[in-house]
Structure formats: C-alpha cells, structure tokens
C-alpha cells in the first residue's frame, strides 16, 4: 500500500481533486485527524466545488462546517465572559491564536476548529488574572504537583483552566514562548504593539507581524505536530491577508530580528513555499536568506518538517514520518529548556506514560 498524503497538496491546487470514494475516505480521515474538516468543507464551498463531491463525504464536510460555526458562536460568548471576568484587573488582555483570528474576523478563522482559548496578560498581573478567572467559574483541572510546578516555574502559561459549567478550556499566558527557551520573548514587548481587536473593545490581538511570529514559533516549538498542517495553513492565511499592507513583509523580517525569531521564521517560510507556493517580494530575497545565514540545521530541519507535517494518520504514516516526529518532539524540548532541565523532564514524562491512569 502506498502512503498517500491527499491533504497537503490540495490547498495550492487550482483544480478540484478527482478522488475515488476510497480517496475521499482517506482525505476526510486525514482532515479529521488534523482538525481540518471544516476547513476542507469551506475550501470546496468557496470554490464552488461542492457539486463535485459525492454525497457521503459531502455530508461530513457539511457537518464539519456546522461544528466550526457552533464553536465560533461559543468563542465569541466565551471571550465576552473572559472580558467580564477580568474587568477589574488592570492589564491588557490579548487574545491569541485561533480565538484571535475569529475575534478579529481574519480569513484564517474560516473553518478553524478549537480545543481551547488562549489569552495573554501582563506578567505582573498574571496571578490576579488567574484569581479573577477562578472566581468567575474557571477551575484548575486535576494535575499533580510536578505539572503545577512545571507550568508555574518554567512555562509561558499557567495550567489550563476549565469552566465548571461550560466545560471550555482556557490557557492563560504571560508571553508566547517558554522563558527557558532558546527563543525567549518578553511578553511586555508584544503587549506594546497589541491592537484593539475591535474599535472601542478592551480585548486586544497581537500586531500582524507578531501574530505571524507567534504562530510560527508555536509550530516550530510545540513539539506535537498532530495539527501541524493546520497550523501552517493558519500562517499562510495570515501572511496572505497581511501582505495586502505594503510594509508587512519588511516589518515581519525586522521584527523577527528584533525578537531573535529568524530561524523559526526561516524554517516556516521554507515549508510555506514548498506546500502552498507562498512567495515574498523579490527585493526581500537576500533578507530572507539572511534569516538563517549559516544554514546549519536548515536542510535537516526541512527534511524533518516535510515528513512530520504529513497528516498523522494511518493512511499516510511511514516509519520515517514517525521518526521525524519523534526527533522534532525531542528537539522542541531541547529548544524550550536547557539540557539540565529537559532530560529529567522527558524521563519523568516517559515513566508516567507507563503508569496506569488513575481516573
């Protein structure tokens, strides 16, 4: 059996695919796995391709869209509740990632599915914000002391909070990368540029260049690439949309240097170009090449990412894609924490996996 990755090449293709039923099954399965089912549905509806889709897969594309629409309604309500809960706290509230795309009405929101909402507040107000959220019905999920310590000491976010009635999950950040990371970014610098998501509202979103860089650094550092293709598509949509502003590309490259995120950006641009044919203004070619001048890990990273960004689905997994994912997982931890922290941490996680869950 071959290992068809039907999903990755679809997004840049000007022609609708002519898939058999079996190929449709595989594509829908890969889309479910990468959380791209609604996105796939919109891709077909937006291009007027739905009449070409057989009835059964068409039904699932439709249900994916329904699920995304329901989530978007919920995200608006959830953000409204978060804003209310934090009304007494003197901090900027920046909505991050998917919820930000929805709030700001960006094209990247179309068909975006969520598992949680991410917000960022100033580090000085982090504890107050957490307490305000706890008072408003969010609760800590059961986790052990080690996890709690890990989050509070080493992480850029607190342990996830879950609303006791609505069951929604909220990640409260004070910055976008781990403070122990090779690519550390002070939250303060991002807050300075954050923009109101809507005129007159209190909720903010990151400036366009920061939003792209956050998405990039998240993809390159998160370690779990299960939804990697989705995350890369997010970046493409952001970049394509922001590129309509003439100064976006120079700003993005400058900001990457300022925040010392050139290398992750360079890896992401390679993949965006490979999968979606994304290009940048030619006059910036030399500057783009300068992002990673020594190209030490470049070719290897490109190969690893090419394998690991395939949907993590049995129809297209190969021994090499599994190995690449493992390598990137270990690498992500190595980037996020110094070796003296990461080795005990990974050993601990590996042992915990062997223990039966108590729940």
């Amino acid at each position: 059996m071959t290992h068809p990755d039907l999903l990755s090449r679809l997004w840049a293709s000007p022609q609708p695919p002519s898939w058999t039923h079996r190929q449709w099954e595989i594509a829908v399965g890969q889309a479910r796995r990468t959380r791209l089912l609604a996105r796939l549905g919109f891709h077909f509806t937006d291009r007027g391709w739905m009449p070409l889709v057989p009835a059964r897969p068409a039904a699932y594309l439709g249900t994916g869209i329904l699920a995304a629409e329901r989530q978007h309604r919920e995200v608006h309500w959830e953000l409204d509740r978060i804003e209310a809960a934090l009304s007494g706290i003197d901090t900027p509230i920046v909505v991050l990632k998917g919820a930000a795309y929805v709030l700001a009405g960006l094209p990247a929101a179309r068909g975006r599915l969520f598992s949680d909402i991410d917000i960022m507040v100033s580090r000085e107000r982090l504890n107050e914000a957490e307490n305000a959220l706890l008072a408003a019905g969010w609760a800590q999920q059961p986790h052990d002391d080690y996890d709690d310590q890990y989050y509070r000491r080493w992480s850029h976010e607190l342990p996830p909070l879950k609303h006791v009635q609505r069951g929604t999950v909220l990640d409260l950040h004070h910055t976008i990368t781990q403070p122990t990371s090779r690519f550390q970014v002070e939250g303060r610098r991002l807050l300075e540029r954050a923009l109101p998501a809507r005129p007159g509202g209190r909720l903010l979103v990151l400036a366009p260049e920061d939003m792209v860089l956050h998405s990039v650094v998240h993809l390159m550092q998160e370690g779990e690439l299960d939804t990697g293709l989705r995350d890369l598509l997010d970046i493409r949509d952001l970049v394509v949309d922001f590129s309509r502003q003439a100064d976006f590309w120079p700003k993005l490259l400058d900001r990457a240097s300022e925040l010392r995120l050139q290398i992750p950006l360079s890896h992401a641009l390679v993949q965006l170009h490979r999968l979606f044919g994304l290009t940048w203004p030619t006059e910036l070619d030399s500057q783009v090449a300068q992002l990673d001048p020594r190209r030490v890990g470049g070719p290897l990273m490109a190969r690893l990412l090419t394998a690991a960004l395939r949907p993590h689905h049995p129809t297209c997994d190969t021994a090499w894609s599994d190995a690449a994912r493992l390598a990137l997982y270990v690498r992500s931890h190595y980037l996020r924490m110094p070796v003296r922290l990461v080795v005990p941490h990974l050993i601990r996680k590996a042992f915990r996996r062997l223990k039966p869950k108590t729940s």
Binding site: H21, G29, T45, M50, T63, I65, P311, H313, K357
Partner: protein
C-alpha cells in the same frame, strides 16, 4: 452478500487484513482487529448484516488493536483507534467486543451531524415510532429488547437518528446492549433471543449484546415518523403506569439527551420542536415486562383508531441531501 455468507476464518482474515466492511442503516463501517472475540461477536450478531463493497464510501474505519508494548502479553489490552487517534483509554482485551459496539456508537454520535442525534431507543410499528430516551439504568434497553420480540420493529437501541429535512427517523438496527440482570430477564422472556457471550466487570457491569432478528434488518430502509415519546423508568415491584408528560418539559429533556442539539442550532430546535408537537409524551414506570407489553399494545391500538399520520417509509436515505452543505455555509 451478508456477513453470514463468510466462514469464521474468512471473517477473521478480513478483520486482520484490509478490514471487514459492513452496512448498518445509513452508515458503512470498516472494522479491523486481530482479536478473536471481535470476530466471533461479529460473526454471531451481524450474521444477516450486508457486507459493503470496498468501492463504496466507508463512513468510519475502526481498529480494535491489541495493547502496545508489554500490554500485548501482560494483562493484554484492547485499544480503539480511529483516524490515528485513541479516543478512550484501553480496556482489558476480553472487553473488545462491547468496546467495538461503543466505538461504533461513538463515531456516529461525534461525527454524523447530518442527523439530529438523541441518546435513545427507537421502535416502530405501522410507520409510527416510539422514542425512548433514558439514562443508563432506566431499563430502556431491556424494554426495547422485549418489545422487538412482540411485533415492534427495532430502529435503534442507543441512537435516534432524525433527519432534519423531513423530521423522519432512520433505522440503524444494531445489536441491543444488555446489562447485568437484564440478560437473564430477556433470556427468560424470549428463549429464542440470541445473546453474545457476556463480558463481566466492565465499567457498566456484566454486558452482552442481543442479535437483531432478521425481519428487522430486511426492513431497515423504512423510515418512520415519531408518534410517541416515552421516558421509561424501571422501578422494582411497580405496576406499569403510563402518565402524560408536558410537551415543553419533554422537549427540554430530549434536548439534554441529544448529542448535537446545540451544534445544529436553529435546525436542531425546529426538528425537535416538530417531533414533540407530533408526539404524545409520557413518563412510564414499570417492573414487569408482560404488563409493559400490554401498555405499548394499547398505545398502538389507540393510534390506529384515532388515525393520524402513519407514513410508511421511503427507502434510500442516501438520497436525502445532507444539512449544512455547500450553499448554506453562512447560515447560523
């Protein structure tokens, strides 16, 4: 071709190979598993279920895999895998068969939003359906298992599938899940009932599944219109008692029992509202199955004399356009 046309070894071979493809009502499943109890359970309970040609679209590919690493040999486990994910914690390997049935339900309840999905049994007679929503322990499955041996047709034991376009119920007719005491109760009530080998000590207690008699399967394409909503409650020693339940209250409870009521938004509300409008709603307390049979027979006879909409089914639910397609991408 039906599953029963395959020899036990051919069933095992398909399960270990590219998969055994089955059609249950509107859904096609591809099932893969190296575990013998999965093969024997399917061979017994799905004997009369049609096999699907591999060129058709298969809605869900389910793997009931063996545990990983040491768990292949030491206290072996079964893992349910779908689309490269493992939605549940693994279970001891002898739970493989009931876990497969749960997995099959899980796929529908989390993905098949082309239907309004209620956690409910559905039975039908003369084109009129009874919806029996109930939490576990209410005796819903026992009642359902008994009724389908007394002339009522099984549409579904766990999942009511309601088409939002015409409000009609679609049949699944998968095996009926029975727990603990109900296993003996049903075997005594209907000695011809075919039950799979029970599995003990699952988180639901002792469980088994009852085979669906053939005539239910041969009429699986017939849809039905809801005529009654009955909330059953088993109560030891109670005389059978059928009490009207207000419609508004019934609607709310049905909504709570639904898997995707809020996901469907206004269409879910309309579908459920219409269904409750058309149906007589009752609370039903019982302990003795024979009394319960009499109560349901009276419901049926009353409906016959009062007339009302029958509506014999249309075949081919495939042709009904799914909701949320193409053009209504922007509707709320």
């Amino acid at each position: 071709m039906k599953l029963g046309d395959l020899s036990p070894s051919a069933i095992r071979r398909r399960l270990r190979g590219d998969g055994l493809c089955l059609r249950t009502g509107p859904f096609n499943y591809r099932i893969r598993s190296p575990i013998d109890s999965v093969a024997s359970g399917l061979g017994l309970l799905y004997e009369q279920v049609p096999l699907v040609d591999d060129s058709e679209y298969i809605d869900f590919t389910i793997t009931m895999a063996r545990g990983r690493g040491l768990r292949r040999w030491f206290r072996p486990q079964v893992r349910f895998e779908v689309d490269g994910e493992t939605p549940f914690e693994p279970l001891p390997e002898d739970h493989a068969y009931p876990m497969l049935e749960w997995a099959m339900n899980w796929c529908v309840s989390t993905q098949a939003h082309q239907y309004l999905l209620l956690h409910s049994a559905v039975i039908e007679r003369d084109g009129r359906a009874v919806i029996m929503p109930a939490p576990p322990g209410s005796g819903k499955s026992t009642l359902c298992a008994a009724l389908i041996h007394r002339g009522w047709r099984l549409m579904s034991d766990e999942l009511a599938l309601i088409n939002p376009f015409d409000g009609r119920l679609v049949a699944l007719a998968r095996p009926v899940s029975l727990k603990n005491e109900s296993l003996d109760v049903i075997q005594r009530f209907e000695p011809s009932a075919v039950l799979n080998t029970p599995v003990g000590e699952t988180f639901k207690g002792k469980v088994s599944h009852m085979k669906v008699p053939e005539w239910h399967l041969s009429r699986i394409h017939e849809t039905a219109s809801a005529r009654w909503v009955v909330f059953p409650q088993y109560q030891a020693g109670a005389e059978a008692r059928l009490e009207p339940r207000p419609k508004a209250d019934s609607l709310l409870e049905l909504a709570q029992n639904a898997f995707n009521y809020s996901l469907l938004g206004p269409s879910g509300f309309r579908t459920l509202g219409d269904l409750v409008d058309r149906s007589d709603c009752y609370r039903f307390t019982y302990s003795k199955l024979e009394q319960a049979m009499a109560v349901f027979e009276r419901l049926r006879l009353d409906a016959q004399t009062s007339g009302g909409d029958t509506g014999h089914g249309h075949a081919g639910s495939d042709k009904v356009p799914p909701p949320g397609r193409a053009d209504d991408g922007n509707s709320p």
